[in-house]
Amino acid sequence: MCTSILELVACKGSGKSPEGWVNLTHAAISYDHPHHAMLNDAVTIDFVNKGLGAGTRVGVELDLKSAKALHKALEKVIKDVEDDVKSRPRSNDIMKAA
């Protein structure tokens, strides 16, 4: 398949590339030919710093099933984090209780 499916997301964080740890600026998510995975097509995620060379990327190639599972797991982790933050008493509440 020769697609134009591509999403570019701004990212803050770090990734360990073949050049070592780098600060990330973006993640490019596409669905097209993989280079290495033995799949006809793959969801490819490349974590990059757009200011650095082509070799400083962290890339993964996943089949659709794995990508969906990853998506679900990310959503759950994010929900758990946000629920946890919401359930913690705010500092004002602690002061009132004291």
Binding site: M1, C2, L6, D32, H33, N40, T44, D46, A54, G55
Partner: protein, 247 residues
């Protein structure tokens, strides 16, 4: 058996906007003259498969050249450079035409050239071959191997890809060969039919071959997409077509 030898090497071209770009060339040893092939690499980049295919054409008696359309993304392995280009939304059609034109001019200006040449491309390179052969009058045959996005929806057009190749059909300047897998989704069988209909409407010389049991990229021997029977037949059809129109 006669002595056989070829020369394969990298050269520098003045690409689009006079940007220096590398190109890989291969041809049989000897004075020629040899008919030419310009190879437009696919979306996975200017990679080993394209080096091998450039030499394959030389093995069959052609002078072949494959320019690096991703040169401006910098140094690196083909897959890293391709990832960078992908994240940037790909190369523009105008830049591609300029780079391929530089390769075509180099090829035709060589003393070993017959002055005739085909343009070969797979995947995005197939789409690019169709565009190049519609925007210039220098190619003698167009070889479109499963080029996706020849048919494009209006919303997929942008500054880099301003016109769908199918809408350039009236300007196609040479005979076209198309090889497609019926299980491909891009181009789908329906899109191949649309392209064929458009070629018929404009009275263009074409040959389309559609393969059952094959999808996209069925020539790629190192990928699960490879289909040996369809691949072998495709190469036979391709060399016959090139022989007929290019020599």
């Amino acid at each position: 058996m006669s002595y056989e030898s070829m020369i394969a090497e990298m050269i520098i071209l003045d690409g689009h906007n006079n940007d220096p770009i590398q190109a890989y060339t291969a041809r049989p040893m000897g004075p020629g003259p040899f008919p030419g092939i310009v190879l437009i690499h696919h979306l996975p980049g200017w990679d080993e498969w394209y080096r091998e295919t450039t030499r394959k054409f030389a093995h069959h008696g052609y002078a072949a050249i494959s320019p690096n359309l991703y040169e401006r993304a910098g140094e690196g392995s083909a897959e890293d450079v391709a990832a960078k280009v992908r994240a940037e939304g790909g190369v523009s059609d105008a830049q591609m035409v300029g780079d391929v034109d530089a390769a075509m001019d180099w090829l035709k200006s060589q003393q070993f050239s017959t002055g005739k040449a085909a343009v070969f491309g797979t995947c995005s390179g197939g789409r690019h071959a169709v565009i190049y052969c519609s925007k210039t009058e220098k190619a003698d045959a167009c070889l479109d191997l499963w080029g996706g996005r020849v048919v494009m929806a209006e919303e997929d057009l942008n500054e880099k890809l301003p016109q769908a190749p199918i809408d350039m059909t009236a300007d196609l300047n040479c005979p076209i060969l198309g090889l497609f897998g019926n299980e491909d989704q891009a181009p789908s069988a329906e899109q191949v039919d649309q392209h064929e209909k458009k070629l018929q409407e404009h009275g263009k010389t074409y040959e389309f071959h559609r393969y059952d049991g094959a999808g996209h990229g069925f020539f790629y021997y190192n990928r699960p997409l490879h289909r040996v029977e369809q691949c072998n037949d495709g190469w036979e059809k391709l060399f016959a077509f090139v022989k007929k129109y290019v020599g």
